[in-house]
């Protein structure tokens, strides 16, 4: 009984201290440059066969999903093939799309995104491929999925749920992959992103996709962690575009050669 009383007093004291300590950040301010610090460069922590990204999650693919998955030939993971005979959209500079852009799938200094909040919108800029997407926060409703023309980054609205910023999206072009392992999605995919600023320097993101055609149940990503990079905005924009003419030349003269095809000068 005595120990319970002590624990209660300690808890109350801790709560008092916590309540008195002012937060040194606004949990509803997500603006800034954020560098991914969590290790997985993929949608979820599926097994990859690579030390940097190996995980244990299972993708709950439907039979149709498995068939789509088999058609995708990635350059990474246990099913990796030489890019010369693969079909990763990245290899032709096609848009990576959402959610793949959110994986920030490369390493420093390119594994970064910037969030800008303006009235009515939240905008995300992605270093890799120099892309951006808009999330509308003006109170509009998400249109029915079957009334939206599919887009690379989908159609998105955002709202605050306490201190969690929740983004709901529909209308995705099914030519994009979820990640560099080649996991597919259909045009019917619905995506929910949940952003929470844990502290002054840390942002976390968890995604849940619902796509009954491809996945047997909603599939939840691993928790992506990001650390703020206050120096980033002081540097010049690196403009990491994927330039189709340069990529085509690279593919013809190096990638395809290494993959066993004849060089084209």
């Amino acid at each position: 009984m005595r120990s319970v009383a002590i624990a209660a007093i300690a808890a109350a004291s801790a709560w008092t201290v916590s309540a008195q300590a002012p937060r040194d950040f606004d949990p509803r301010d997500l603006s800034g440059h954020w560098n991914r610090t969590s290790r997985f460069q993929t949608f979820s922590n599926v097994w990859s066969g690579q030390g940097l990204t190996q995980g244990t999650a299972e993708a709950p693919l439907t039979e149709a999903g498995k068939a789509r998955f088999e058609k995708n030939k990635p350059g990474y993971g246990p099913r990796a093939v030489p890019p010369a005979v693969g079909n990763d959209p990245m290899g032709t500079c096609d848009p990576l799309g959402i959610p793949r852009l959110l994986n920030t799938e490369v390493i420093s200094p390119h594994q970064t995104m910037e969030i800008v909040q303006v009235p009515g919108r939240m905008i995300q800029f992605f270093e890799w491929h120099h892309d951006w997407r808009e999330v509308f926060t003006d109170g509009r409703q998400l249109p029915p999925a079957d009334e939206v023309d599919p887009n690379w980054n989908g159609t998105s609205i955002g709202r605050w749920d306490g201190d969690v910023f929740v983004v709901a999206s529909v209308g995705f072009d099914d030519r994009t992959w979820l990640d560099k392992f080649g996991y597919p999605h259909s045009e019917s995919m619905r995506l929910e992103e949940r952003y929470r600023r844990r502290d002054r320097d840390t942002l976390e993101l968890t995604m849940t996709l619902t796509d009954p055609e491809i996945y047997t149940r909603p599939w939840v990503s691993d928790t992506k962690m990001f650390r703020i990079d206050r120096e980033k905005s002081k540097r010049w924009d690196e403009q990491i575009y994927c330039v189709p003419t340069e990529e085509y030349k690279f593919n013809q003269r190096v990638r395809d050669v290494a993959g066993g095809k004849e060089a084209k000068q």
Binding site: P83, I240, F250, R255, V257, G259
Partner: protein, 152 residues
């Protein structure tokens, strides 16, 4: 110097046997392959190849060196090498990487991962000498600030 690597090396022996020396150095998979390039090469093997630069592309996603390798009978083979870091990553090494670091006519010696495709004349650069001087192709590589000495 010659070691167990035989695939692509054997295939191009006719055209460039002497300049191409292979050695097993046991390199780890690099995390810098943005386009899945690692899969195209034997990343657990290295070869050494010397040649004359014909072109230098310091562009995204991967800078590229094009160079000619002459064999003992004077025949020339055209080779390509890709570097894994992006240009901005290479600039961050602060050793002077620019669009003009390499020029046509420069003499290079490359230690690189050989291609998996037999007879292919492309490799993945791991170490590079330009006109006798080490130039790092990855942070901490030969010639990089703080890298181990004695690689001349």
């Amino acid at each position: 110097m010659r070691a167990a690597y035989t695939g692509a090396d054997m295939a191009h022996r006719d055209s460039c046997s002497l300049p191409v020396l292979a050695a097993l150095l046991g390199t780890a998979l690099s995390a810098m392959a943005h386009h899945g390039s690692n899969v195209s090469y034997h990343t657990d093997q290295t070869m050494t190849i010397a040649g004359t630069v014909t072109e230098w592309e310091f562009i995204n996603p991967h800078p590229q060196i094009y160079f000619d390798v002459k064999n003992e009978t004077g025949d020339i083979a055209h080779w390509a090498a890709e570097l894994l870091p992006t240009p901005s990553m290479m600039r961050n090494m602060k050793v002077g990487w620019t669009r003009t670091t390499l020029k046509p006519g420069d003499q290079i010696v490359l230690v690189c991962n050989p291609p998996r495709a037999q007879g292919a004349k492309a490799c993945l650069a791991k170490e590079l000498k330009i006109n006798g001087k080490d130039w790092p192709v990855a942070p901490g590589g030969a010639g990089a600030p703080g890298a181990a000495k004695g690689k001349q």
